[in-house]
Symmetry: C2
Subunit: 467 residues, 2 copies
């Protein structure tokens, strides 16, 4: 980034919002996934207008822009893989309006998702998408990655709640897409096209989110099973009773062991699967639904069943799930977190395939995930300095993707493609499908300014970037 | 369409699936909106492969293609405005699989939406989108127009249920987008981009729909109010109690009068607004919700309140709503049906503006609609042979759009842009927004083969095509 560009940037932003020192740039060189890439500079814009001017400058001088929220991405979303300028969007967080009457939220891009949860609840409303990073991740990051968490089955994903946006396009135009109404079929659905576009098609500078009335109550239970097949049967039977849980979280044996080893709390370490089920809605309905769910788990031969009778007991149950991340982080310095997703009925088969992959490559692989929507999280715990092991990890990751696709699933349920799944995109989309994706990117971003190096593999690239 | 092209088409399709006689072509020259346009031919394909070959032929010889389901469009969606070949997709209806375990339906494009409702219900499942034409409209037509009906507030629109498709692109490639899982963030969301694209971006040859458990029960009530403001207050108060009705249908005074005049059933003809409210879910919750809703309507001073105590009484309530269409059809030979949509809190204001427009242009304008999601249906009853009146209609329609936009709403909640709203698109999107839409169309359909003449106005066109 030459002095001329830096000087022009200084005309757009105050000096204290521009950073070119190595120490500053280093802070922006990684995310929660894998790999370090040093940007040439960092800008902290505070308005759509500033961003528009920066984008136009980038087009004029041909340097890449990397929008970034809180960098909790597990797929490399914000990594500045080709240098250029990082746009730190986390500073744009001055607006969060809850419009109770229209049940919508209007928010700046850098607002934390958990702040939206909290403000909505104060108004008796509810914003369902709940990625586990919600307390640190920004709403625009969630939107651009369509990251969603456990409530997909009942409530859908982030995309189902974004109804309008202000966006700066890859050529620097400020446009509004969608609006304030759930129903809107004016033009193609650019709102949904940009949601989940991983920052390749535009920079979100404001979002309008649909909210729903806050469920009146919730009931939570935990059950353990001999094996994932039994657990899968219980899930199917519960759903076919007409019960639609807000969350159905699954942990495999390796995951149960890791959590119990991390902090013993009496989980059955020989159980093949652990299920946390939460129903929400009207209190009278819940009582019946949780009772029916318990009966079904009993019939199927659950090892243990625990229905929370108080808020404390509910927290205890969720603590098992929340310990997963710290527990597995203790197992090794490097964590590769995947999100291959399969049709729900294929979960037991996918768990089998993941077991095979664990054995075949002799890796520390634990599986947890959102069983209701088939969204599994196989996590490989490894050490990136161990080149030999990383090669096995690389092959195992390829096999995980292949297994998901063979079962009619998808590479990514909620983490995105980013850098880490780009070489596999064509396996799911085919050549023609990838051509359609690229043609939109090219039409909107002819100079390839926004987040280049993501989603699409380099010519001839067949592996991920782990080794 | 010259003989060479006809002969090539005969190599793709059996002769009895191709129609070039005037009488046949005439049957395909109109839809449920406005205007007649004679196609040069009609093809009734039965596979994606046949469609792919036809599309490639169209690109080679440069003739337009007009995909068409049951032609219930109210915006001109399937009208062959530039001649060419109509693709009658209603014959492709051999597949309708309900996968109970994964709660999805896999369907051919020509399957009727009501058949999906019925088959899903047999499996204890539920496909919520329910346009009033569901008993005659095809699922692919619903998808490409994102037509949705009364349940948008609680259940979202068609788009929220389409999770995968097989599509023939405008250049004749057969691609699969999305898949069988609710969570899928692999690549841009082409499924949602194509849903609601009005046939400009691809021809749907198979769709995968998300289903949900069938609600266990429902309760229905009807209330009438002095004016729309009172009705709006009742709606807001009900929602802020945490009650999320499956439907909240609104009729204005002109609409009540039309229905009562058509077939007297004791509706209060002086009421300013009629509200039909339906809640669904667990029976225990419903009892409380309908009681609370009734109390709220009483507090606000409803003129009449009727809670259905039996399925017969429920049907009686809905009959009032279902009579709207036949009742207003009796008022005149031509019906212009709009779907301008505003944020819910703006409904009373929008009703005021519609009253003004009715008075200003001295037109027969009745208003009904889906109050929960702000989706109103102002219908103008007129006579297309009355040129003088049609000019007033034209101006009134423009004012309706402008009113919706001024209140933060959108041109179209569920009918689409088609021919009838094209000149107004830029008012909502701005020049830059329209350029983004067009750039996708151009990138995917460089020869402008699929459904040309829709969504985008001709250079200099400022009015709709009514006069």
């Amino acid at each position: 980034m030459n002095e001329e560009v830096k000087n022009k940037l200084k005309k757009i932003l105050p000096t204290n919002k521009l950073h070119f020192e190595l120490s500053d740039r280093y802070s922006y060189s990684f995310d929660a996934s894998f790999g370090e890439y040093l940007p040439e500079g960092v800008a902290q814009p505070s308005s759509a207008q500033e961003i528009s001017e920066i984008v136009k400058l980038a087009n004029q001088y041909g340097f890449p822009l990397y929008p970034r929220g809180s960098a909790t991405s597990l797929s490399g979303g914000p990594l500045p893989v080709e240098g250029g300028l990082v746009l730190d969007m986390s500073q744009m967080r001055d607006k969060l309006i809850i419009d109770k009457e229209n049940m919508i939220a209007i928010t700046s891009p850098g607002v934390l998702t958990s702040d939206i949860h909290n403000e909505a609840e104060k108004a008796g409303l509810f914003y369902p998408p709940d990625p586990s990073s919600a307390h640190v991740s920004t709403i625009a990051g969630n939107i651009l990655e369509n990251s969603s968490g456990p409530k997909g089955l009942k409530y859908g994903t982030t995309k189902e709640y974004v109804i309008g946006m202000e966006v700066v396009t890859p050529t620097g135009e400020i446009v509004r897409v969608g609006g304030k109404t759930v129903k809107n079929v004016t033009g193609f659905d650019l709102t949904r096209l940009i949601t989940g576009s991983e920052g390749l098609l535009g920079i979100v500078t404001e979002a309008t989110l649909r909210l729903i009335p806050k469920p009146k109550d919730r009931k939570t239970m935990m059950a353990t099973f001999h094996n994932p097949v039994d657990c899968g049967r219980a899930i199917t039977k519960i759903l076919s009773k007409g019960i639609l849980p807000a969350a159905m979280e699954l942990m495999d044996n390796a995951c149960i062991r890791a959590v119990e080893h991390f902090e013993p709390s009496g989980l059955p370490v020989n159980a093949g699967a652990l299920l946390i089920l939460e129903v929400d809605g009207h209190p009278l309905a819940l009582q019946e639904e949780i009772e029916q769910s318990r009966e079904i788990c009993e019939e199927i031969g659950a090892l243990t069943i625990k229905v929370a009778e108080s808020e404390k007991e509910r927290n205890d149950i969720w603590t098992a799930r929340k310990k997963v991340s710290p527990a597995i982080t203790q197992l090794g310095p490097t964590k590769i977190s995947e999100d291959a997703t399969v049709p729900r009925s294929k979960i037991p088969e996918m768990m089998e395939k993941l077991n095979d992959i664990r054995d075949r490559y002799q890796l520390n692989l634990v599986v947890f995930g959102h069983a209701g929507d088939g969204n599994l999280h196989p996590n490989i715990i490894t050490d990136k300095t161990n080149i030999e092991e990383m090669k096995r990890v690389e092959d195992a990751v390829g096999d995980i993707f292949q297994a998901a696709l063979e079962l009619g699933g998808t590479l990514s349920g909620e983490h995105g493609i980013g850098t880490l799944k780009a070489p596999y995109l064509e396996r799911e989309y085919g050549k023609e499908g990838v051509a359609l994706l690229k043609s939109i990117k090219h039409a909107w971003d002819p100079n390839n300014i926004l987040n280049p190096g993501k989603m699409f593999a380099k010519e001839g690239q067949t592996k991920v970037v782990l080794t």
